[in-house]
Structure formats: structure tokens, C-alpha cells
Symmetry: C2
Subunit: 334 residues, 2 copies
């Protein structure tokens, strides 16, 4: 590997001069600068990030902690989409990402982050009560959290309250009043959505009927199907069922079909997430699409700004709205 020394030798200048020339310091003459840069280019020089990190204490690496309910990691659609857009933004700014994990060498998350010397961390997590997660959040590192709010930390959250609100209002606008809701695992996200369900119904002047709610799980079509059957079996069954995610909604679709009913003719269905697949199946799913790209993008930009300019970056709580995708799974029954 070609180092500063090689260039210095070739140009008959000191290593410091080369370093400063390449970093465009202004105490290097224009001719020298030009010459050094040409030679560097010719020799195929690239800095050694470890050496640079050691000296500057900045690695240009961002730690990523993503843990979902099912430990599905990168195969979790929502997280994958958030992370993908996050990564695209950080990359153009010269940051690489490093996954923070606790499995390696029995380090805690924070230890791992320190070990790798990441300049900042983004955290999207199912369990923000985890001691290790809290330690990381309360560390001296720049932190941005996703889908969870902490005091004195920047957070980017998908608007779950607004999402449920919009979705229910949309469904209601098509005449639905008995709206079932099969919801996901007990997390902050879920609690917000359920609360929003109650509040929106109240706002619409509808008395919530608890027999229309079922605690299910995320991304579990089987379970969703089971609860769908239960809802269908009720004497006064809902005209529309909401699901915690699109996969669950597909499970619901299957259960309904199995019961000899048709969506949306006999009963309506709405998902949540707006996954790619929800828009290519038949009937096309009516769902609430979280703006995962925007969430990832904002998280990345906020974190980078926080890293580069901690003083002037204000601690925002950024709410990212999504939008109702009008599919064909909710019928107008007015």
C-alpha cells in the first residue's frame, strides 16, 4: 500500500507537506500542492482509515443498531427499507455503516460502538427498555433514535398515531363503522396505534367495541388468520378489519376466503406498511404506507449534522407522515 511517505519521497518534501497538500491546507504553495496531488493520483494513493481514525478520533463510520420483534434482522421489510435509505444518504457523505451487535466477543452495544469508534449511532429497536440499549442512548455518542422518543435525543418517528387516524378516517369515509382491529406485539408503536384507534373512533362519534380488538403479533399471518376467524364468527361482525401489517392482512385475506367470503364484497380489509407486495397482490391491499425512505433519510441527515456540528444541531423530534394507499380491499358501503 502506498503511504504518505512514498509520495513525500517521490516529491522530495516532508510527510507533513503531503498530508497538508492532500487535505488542502492553505500553507502549502499551489505548485507543490498540484505536484503532490498528481503524484498521489499516479501512485494510486488512498489514506489509511485506521491511521486517520487513530489520530483524528473520527472513523467516518456510523453504528447501526436494529433489533426487531422476531430478530429477523436484515430480512425485516420495514427496517430494511429504512436502513437502505439511511445507508444511501450516509454513503454519499463518506460514512460507512457498522452494525452494532452484542453477539461478538461478549461486548455490550456501547462497548462495541466504542471498540469500532463509530462517530454516531442510529437506533431502531423493539426494546428500548433494554439496559444495554439505554446505556448506548445515554452515552457520549451522537445518537438518533427511530420510532421512539427520548429526552434530549434526536428522534425520527413514523407517525403511527396520524397513520391510524388517517386510515380509520378513510375507512369510515367509505361507510364503515364497525371496524375490527387486530394489532401487534406490545410495543410503544403498538400502544400508540391502539390509542389512536380509540381516539379516532371517539372523534368520529363511534363507541369502541372491545370485542372487535385482538392482540396478535407482527408479521404473523397465521395468527392473524386465527383472530380473523374469531372476528368473523361474531354475531355482529365487523364490516372492516385492520391489521398490524401487510403480512398479517394477507393472512386475514386467506382466512376470509377460506370462510367462503369475498374481499371486499363481503368484508373489507386494510393493512399497514405499504409493502411492495401489498400492491401487487389481488385484491390490491388498502394500507397505510409508512414513509420508510423518508425516515431513513431524515435520520441519516440529522445524525450527520449532529456529528459534524453538535453545537448548532437542535434536538428535534421529527414526525414522518405516511399516506393511505387506496387499494381495492376496502369497499364503499355507503
Amino acid at each position: 500500500m502506498v503511504s504518505l511517505k512514498d509520495i513525500a519521497d517521490k516529491c522530495s518534501v516532508s510527510i507533513a507537506t503531503v498530508s497538508k497538500a492532500l487535505n488542502d491546507h492553505d500553507d502549502i504553495g499551489p505548485d507543490t500542492k498540484k505536484n503532490i496531488r498528481e503524484i498521489a493520483e499516479k501512485l494510486g494513493y488512498f489514506p489509511n482509515s485506521s491511521a486517520r481514525a487513530l489520530k483524528t478520533k473520527r472513523t467516518n463510520n456510523i453504528g447501526v443498531l436494529f433489533v426487531d420483534e422476531g430478530r429477523s434482522g436484515l430480512t425485516h421489510d420495514y427496517f430494511a427499507r429504512v436502513l437502505d435509505s439511511f445507508k444511501r444518504v450516509t454513503e454519499v457523505s463518506g460514512y460507512d455503516i457498522t452494525f452494532i451487535n452484542a453477539t461478538s466477543q461478549k461486548m455490550t452495544y456501547l462497548e462495541h460502538a466504542h471498540f469500532r469508534g463509530v462517530d454516531g449511532v442510529v437506533i431502531a429497536c423493539v426494546d428500548f427498555d433494554d439496559r444495554d440499549v439505554i446505556d448506548l442512548i445515554n452515552s457520549d455518542l451522537p445518537v438518533v433514535t427511530i420510532d421512539h422518543v427520548f429526552d434530549n435525543r434526536i428522534s425520527v418517528v413514523s407517525d403511527n398515531i396520524g397513520g391510524m387516524h388517517d386510515l380509520i378516517k378513510y375507512v369510515h369515509s367509505l361507510g364503515h363503522e364497525r371496524i375490527g382491529y387486530i394489532y401487534g406485539d406490545d410495543t410503544a408503536v403498538t400502544r400508540n396505534r391502539v390509542a389512536s384507534y380509540y381516539n379516532t373512533l371517539k372523534e368520529l362519534g363511534i363507541t369502541a367495541d372491545d370485542s372487535l380488538l385482538c392482540a396478535s403479533a407482527y408479521r404473523n399471518p397465521k395468527l392473524a388468520a386465527k383472530y380473523t376467524e374469531q372476528l368473523l364468527a361474531q354475531r355482529n361482525r365487523p364490516t372492516c378489519i385492520l391489521y398490524p401489517d401487510d403480512y398479517s392482512a394477507i393472512g386475514g385475506l386467506n382466512a376470509i376466503e377460506k370462510a367462503g367470503l369475498s374481499v371486499p364484497n363481503d368484508i373489507s380489509v386494510a393493512g399497514y406498511d405499504g409493502l411492495y407486495v401489498s400492491q401487487i397482490i389481488h385484491p390490491k391491499l388498502t394500507t397505510y404506507q409508512q414513509n420508510s425512505e423518508e425516515i431513513g433519510r431524515i435520520a441519516a441527515k440529522s445524525l450527520i449534522r449532529l456529528i459534524r456540528d453538535p453545537k448548532s444541531t437542535l434536538i428535534d423530534k421529527i414526525l414522518v407522515p405516511g399516506k393511505v394507499l387506496e387499494g381495492a380491499s376496502v369497499r364503499d358501503i355507503k
Copy 2:
């Protein structure tokens, strides 16, 4: 951050002694060792990976280059699954992963890999003819390629030839002889699959009818639907259509339904990939499931062995078979 120096001061020994004690060298007395380790633990010491990397030339970082047809990155189901299992294996061995990308600071892939000093690289790529990719593959770095074979490099490949073979034989065993095939973008993978299509038909004594083949694209249900319509419009239409992936198959399902036909009663359909979603939709898709977990796992283990013990690691081409998932989308027409 606590460094070796802090421990050395506290223990009244030299820095070298601390380093050697923690790395379990055998020229340090047992008592000293014990004491140093206790203090290190108490102080919460963790090594600085940059400093270590600078000295040892090993970063315990593995470069990952994943580029798919649509630049979908982490949202590509197959790659995400491969990568996820890859990552799980590398993590327990103490390796983190770094995404190799060319966007950052106009570096080539190889330059980026050198910049970060990765110990090895895994490459899964759509375009193995790309100059930058070739440079990376021919570099001095330990390399494992996925789904593409290179001379003198370890490769792990999904058995596309066997996959198509098994899938077609299965379909044929249910009585299908006119088998349509809508295939993906022109890549090595596709060429293998198409070749296998021809060979398997020949093996079964069926004369291939080129009017049953359409060049489509991967993960493009719209396009797949269009070609499906074309196939359906033929006077002597196929009894079964194969698709390049499950998403495309879903597009096919929709086109067939739109044409007033039913799967599998009027026509059969088979996908490829075995995505989660293919098994929860209705009708459950008959598809060939690539063993992406196994591919990622083997790639990781091979690469780590190659990094740690280059001499004794033999340059394998590992073929990873998948399996036919019998869904309900291919009917027995015997």
C-alpha cells in the same frame, strides 16, 4: 476512553506488559496477568480497533459488495436473506461487515476496500463483467463470490441449473408438457436457468417450443403480467408457466385472473425463490426455494477460513441446492 497506558499506570507495569497480558502471551507471570486483567475489567477497557488495525494490518472487518439488477440494495429479498445469514456467522467470529460502495468519495470498489482495510470481501453482484468488480476480484484480498464462478476464487452458488431441473421435473411429473418460461434479465444466473430449461426438456423427451419463452426481468410483476397475457393469447397455450421469481409469478397470477382464468384449475404457475410471501398468498405458490441462509453461511465460513488460514484453504466451488416448495399453484393434470 481508557487505554493500555491507563492500565499500565494503575498496575505499575509497562504498556507492553499490559498488551501482552491481555493477549495472553506466555512471557507474563500468572499473577501479573491476573492483576492486569482484573484492573482492565474494572476500568472497562476495550481495545481501540483503529490502533490495533494500524499495527496488525487486520481490521476484523469484512467488505460486502452486493449489487442487484435494480439497485434495490438491502430491500432485495434474496440478497437480504443471504446477507443476513452471512452477517450472523461473521459476527460470532468477531468480524463486522462494511458495505463496499463506489458512491463514496469517488473511490472504486477496490479503493474503498483498501481504504477501510477490510480483511476480505464477499461479492454478490449482477454485473461480474464490471471493470471495478473484476479489479476487486483479482486483488490481493481474500475473496468469496456468490452466484458466480471465477478461476482461483472461492465461490458459493445457488444451484440454478439443478433448481430449474428439479422444478421442471416436478411440474412434468404432474403431467405438464407445454411449459412456458418467462425469464429474467440477461445475467449468468439467467443463462444457467434457461440452459437448464432446454436441457431438462430434452432429457424429458420434450421438444422445446421457443414461442413459450419470454425475456422479462426480475422482480417486475407488471412486465411478467404482460408476457403472461401474450402466452395466454397463443392458440396452443402452455399448461404451466414458470417465472423468474416469486414477485413475477404474482404478476402472472394477476394477469391470469384478469383473463378470467383460475390458477391452478385452468393454468398452472410456478415461481422461483421461495419468499416468505409466496407461502402465505392464495393459492400458495409452487416455487423453488433457494437456500439463501445456507449460501450466506457457507460464504461466511469459507471467507473466514480463507482469511485466517489462506494456505490450507482450498479453492472450492460450492453448489448449494434448494428445494421445490409444493404449493397449490401447479395442478396435477395427468
